[in-house]
């Protein structure tokens, strides 16, 4: 469905008086999400997840690289021509409150894109109403009680469902969910995740899930791929469960080690990895990007940049000179 090769994005931060500072948000990222497939991006704050998601949804430009949607290379198209392609990819925002216009009812919110569709395909007005009800039912909302409401009259979970319903009005082939559950109450979170999974299964839309919480990534689909991103570079990529169970990159390992252990239910992992602090000072561009914080770094790490590759007979791709499996995640008590 969508393929990217070597996507680079550099922000020039203007306004700072001390000259323009460059932020390398993405440093040559390859990705590929098949039709109906799932992918998850995880990584620390500021690693470039959102940037990549926005680029994929066509909301942000990129400096280098190529993105192809359904085989059509975007760079060969004019901005106007790209739009219909990118419309197939809809973004679902982290904050469901700001993603809905507080002055517009759910009905109005759904109506606008639907009437655009109706205009394009020559459908009638009644189709609009029907379709609005339909997409709401798809996301598990009762159209009758929700349509006339304003966003502030809905709970976080309902709002997020409306956001998803709105995305569905244009029959997207892919949904980009950026931290789509992080602002939703814990008890409702799973509902949204299940919904996304359900949509994937029933409608065949692919889902790109962006999160810093690895566990949630599992719930979108265990057949999906996990991309671990560090400072704009994908450093490990593979099937979700493989990476969770057997991470090989020290960064992935430290990320997984940081997940709190539910002490009543779980046993901590045997070899948790803690990165060397601090993150802020060491922003070396030389060698491996993680070298400064890596407890296992070797000599090579500070001079040479490891690239993402399949190596050492491991099932996943990784960008580490010294990959080693470590058992870092907590296991349920019942298993041990």
């Amino acid at each position: 469905m969508i393929n990217g090769t070597g996507v680079v994005k550099t922000y020039k931060q203007r306004g700072k008086v001390l000259g323009a500072r460059e932020v390398r948000a993405l440093r040559g990222v390859d990705f590929s999400i098949p039709k109906g497939g799932a992918a998850s991006f995880i990584g620390e704050s500021g690693c470039g997840k959102t940037t990549l998601g926005r680029i994929i949804a066509g909301l942000e430009t990129y400096d280098e690289g190529e993105i192809a949607i359904d085989g059509v290379a975007m760079s060969s198209l004019k901005p106007k021509q790209r739009q219909p392609h990118f419309r197939k990819i809809q973004m679902i925002h982290q904050d469901p409150y700001s993603a809905l216009n507080p002055t517009r009812t759910v009905h109005q919110t759904l109506h606008a894109p639907l009437s655009l569709r109706a205009g394009q395909t020559g459908r009638s007005k009644s189709w609009i109403e029907e379709r609005a009800a339909e997409v709401l039912s798809l996301v598990g909302l009762d159209p009758g009680s929700v349509l006339a409401r304003y966003p502030h009259q809905l709970s976080g979970g309902m709002r997020q469902r409306v956001v998803i319903a709105r995305a569905l009005t244009v029959d997207p082939e892919m949904l980009v969910a950026d931290e789509a559950v992080s602002m939703i109450d814990v008890s409702l979170r799973l509902g949204i995740l299940a919904l996304l999974k359900d949509l994937r299964e029933r409608l065949g839309v692919s889902v790109l899930f962006i999160t810093h919480d690895v566990a949630t990534a599992r719930y979108i689909g265990d057949d999906g791929e996990l991309y671990v991103i560090y400072r704009g570079q994908v450093i490990e990529r593979g099937a979700v469960d493989t990476i969770i169970a057997d991470p090989v990159h020290p960064y992935t390992q430290s990320l997984l080690s940081a997940i709190p252990v539910l002490h009543g239910l779980e046993q901590p992992g045997e070899h948790p990895v803690t990165p060397l602090e601090p993150l802020d000072q060491d922003q070396s561009e030389e060698g491996c990007l993680f070298a400064g914080r890596c407890p296992f770094r070797g000599e090579r790490c500070t001079s040479e940049r490891p690239l993402l590759q399949v190596a050492d007979g491991l099932p996943q791709e990784h960008a580490c000179f010294y990959p080693e499996r470590r058992s870092v995640i907590a296991r349920p008590m019942s298993e041990v």
Binding site: G58, L59, R87, Q90, H111, A112, P113, Q153, V170
Partner: protein, 299 residues
Amino acid sequence: MSVLLEGSSTSAAMRRNFWTGVWRVMRRKPTRLVGAVLMLGFVFMGLFGPLFYPDPLPRDPGQLTRPPSWQHWLGTDDQGRDVIALVVTGSRYVLLAALVTAVITVVLGTGIGLFSGFKRGRWDTVLMRFTDMKLTIPGLPLLLVLSTVWKFNSAVQMGLVLGLLSWGGVARAVRSQTLSLRERGFIEAARGLGLSTTHIVGKELLPSMAPYIAMNMLIAITGGVYSQVGLFFLGVLPYESNNWGQMLNTAVFRSGALTIPSALGFLLGPLLAILLLTLAIVLVVDAMDEIFNPRLREE
């Protein structure tokens, strides 16, 4: 077509909600009711006030510049006309010009601010530099200099010029609002859905800013009143036979209102009118602040 549908039950309900909200806010502080009533009073005065008096106003050559009396509550002017009659009949010019000012200020300011904030990039830079420059040039001195070049022949022209000079602040404010709204997910979502710019600006951005724009409009009205009355007061505008500013000018510089109390009524008439108008607008803006506050609508 979409307009038709949207005008259906939901927006009617919204309107009903809105007015009950307005009423609630009004009731909470009686001063706001006073403001609204005063405001309506001024509108009425501008629309119908002149109809209550003959044109030209009756004058009494034996009663030139007299202090307040039972017959003339605020006294008479230097032509022997009743000051209250002058204030009432003079309100039309003043308010009309102010309205034109406000409309132009708000339309230009909103338009430029929206465009600038929405397009960003080069246009934004150019427009904002221009706006900054406009804001740097002081309005009153510029008006004074302009008044020698421009012939302000009617209230509409007056309003036009004032409006052209005063959109800067609104433009800047609207731009920053637009910029911050842009960052809100719903605008980005609309773009992602392929909705037209017209829809985004007209249906998503503008309604969110409507209260803000409405308040600016009210404030621009006062601005319009003050500038023109001030210019008339300084005597740099063509004579108007009855106009608040002209009254101030004549009262002070010709009839000696600041020297002898007998012309004070003549001075106080327009001053009180301006004070009351300011009060009305202050109170209404204060109420609007709350009416449009989404948190209060939630309750």
